[in-house]
């Protein structure tokens, strides 16, 4: 099951040129790009691991792609996303985030039912990949 989080997630995966165009768009507006990775695809998992620090003071998108290439080498089997931080006063938040790398196999989520008091049922989502310890998920 294909994970759909962040911008462009219902589109086919972006090519490097398309990623580059998005990055340049952000840099033109003075946003700082950051690279984050995770192997826990749960939608409530908002805190992904940082790959290096957010990249402030860049002028050209090549630098972000260079860092992304390095990240892909180390985390080819994980989700990688690019986040654009807008430091404008009053915004000071992520303006744009999109997934740029995903594992080859995405097993999806299990729907878990829990019987509550009376006949109520509580539902939960659990990624199949989360059965294994962090860092070993999605490994063959």
């Amino acid at each position: 099951m294909r994970l759909t989080q962040g911008a462009f997630s219902f589109l086919p995966d972006l090519s490097d040129d398309e990623i580059r165009a998005q990055v340049d768009y952000g840099l033109e507006r003075g946003w700082a790009w950051a690279i984050e990775t995770t192997d826990d695809p749960h939608p409530r998992n908002t805190y992904w691991e940082m790959w290096g620090t957010p990249m402030f003071g860049l002028k050209d998108g090549a630098a972000v792609l260079y860092e992304l290439e390095a990240c892909r080498k180390g985390h080819a089997d994980q989700y990688i996303r690019l986040c654009a931080f807008d430091s404008t006063r009053g915004v000071e938040s992520i303006r744009l985030a999109f997934i740029v790398n995903r594992p080859a196999e995405e097993p999806g989520f299990a729907l878990q039912r829990q019987d509550g008091s009376g006949r109520s049922i509580r539902y939960g989502l659990k990624p199949y990949s989360a059965d294994r310890p962090q860092g070993m998920r999605y490994r063959e």
């Binding site: 290096g52 002028k59 050209d60 090549a62 630098a63 260079y66 860092e67």
Partner: protein, 317 residues
């Protein structure tokens, strides 16, 4: 003059390509490189050999651009450069213009200049250098990385020095990210030569060496006048003479840093002018506020040393 220089070279290149020709004049106009070169001529006094080299490089790049349009050029030309010369000879200023030229010709995408020294590249402990150097490289991508006094990166007396690591990362970036960034190394000529001898890899990746000559006295005077003009000051008649004397003396003293020494001298003269005006307790007008006179310059230590007879002889003439 430049336009003709450039126009002559390309004709043969276009002819060699056969078929459709490219109007190099039009290319020159479109990129507006001429504007930068004119600005260089206007704002930089002297430096004839440097200006000539930059014209050569500019016309070479223009021709390679034309060749590329005709499909003659396979690999982009190597653009890394080395500027050698004494302090204050305009290396940084020329690097800024170079970034501008490269940007207009489309060899760098953004055309900004990132100026760094050893401290910005080399870390303090193991594992600190690589991220630090890469950070700078990333910042310089799309523009020009200007490494001042680059030879400090290499310290042969300490084999564990982290400078070597920075050099290796730089080399890798200079090779693999040729389209993304242009590196300009700068420093004294002799030390730079030693540096290149010890780092053959670096030497072989640098295509253009430009040597910046020292200024002569007339050029320094013109520089002083240009600097003052930019700050809306001027020298009065006595001041002109004093400035000429000052330069003649200062140029023979140790630690003479060409245009930078002149700038410092002018800054001190402005200070003295301010206190002179203040102590005169007269009503001042615009002319008085902007005129530097002889006494502002002659109060300098350079003149005091010279009036001491014995000192003068000892002063390494």
């Amino acid at each position: 003059m430049m336009a003709e220089d450039i126009a002559n070279t390309p004709a043969s290149a276009a002819a060699a390509g056969g078929g459709s020709g490219i109007d190099l004049q039009a290319l020159l106009r479109d990129t507006d490189v001429q504007g930068v070169l004119d600005q260089l001529d206007r704002e930089l006094i002297g430096l004839k050999p440097v200006k000539r080299r930059i014209r050569e490089i500019a016309s070479f790049l223009l021709v390679s651009k034309a060749r590329k349009q005709l499909g003659l050029e396979a690999a982009p030309p190597s653009l890394h450069m080395c500027f050698t010369g004494n302090p204050g000879t305009g290396k940084t200023t020329v690097a800024t213009r170079m970034a501008d030229i490269l940007h207009r010709l489309g060899y760098v995408r953004k055309g900004h200049l990132v100026t760094v020294t050893r401290d910005d590249l080399v870390g303090q402990y193991i594992g600190h250098t690589a991220p630090k150097t890469k950070e700078i490289l990333k910042r310089a991508m799309g523009g020009v990385l200007f490494i001042d006094e680059a030879y400090y990166l290499y310290r042969p007396e300490n084999e564990r020095d982290y400078g070597q690591e920075a050099i290796e990362i730089l080399l890798q970036a200079m090779e693999n990210h040729r389209d993304d960034l242009v590196v300009i190394l700068a420093g004294y000529k002799d030390r730079m030569d030693t540096f290149f001898k010890a780092n053959a890899g670096m030497a072989s990746r640098i295509a253009h060496h430009i040597d910046f000559p020292d200024y002569d006295e007339a050029e320094l005077l013109a520089i002083a006048q240009l600097m003052l003009e930019q700050m809306n000051y001027h020298l009065d008649d006595d001041g002109q003479v004093a400035m000429r004397d000052y330069i003649a003396r200062r140029i023979r003293q140790p630690n003479f840093a060409n245009a930078r020494s002149i700038r410092n001298a002018l800054d001190r003269a402005r200070l003295r002018q301010a206190s002179r005006l203040f102590s005169s307790e007269r009503i001042v007008d615009a002319d008085m506020l902007s005129a530097l006179s002889a006494e502002d310059l002659r109060a300098s230590r350079v003149f005091q040393d010279a009036t001491d007879g014995p000192h003068d002889k000892g002063d390494g003439r």
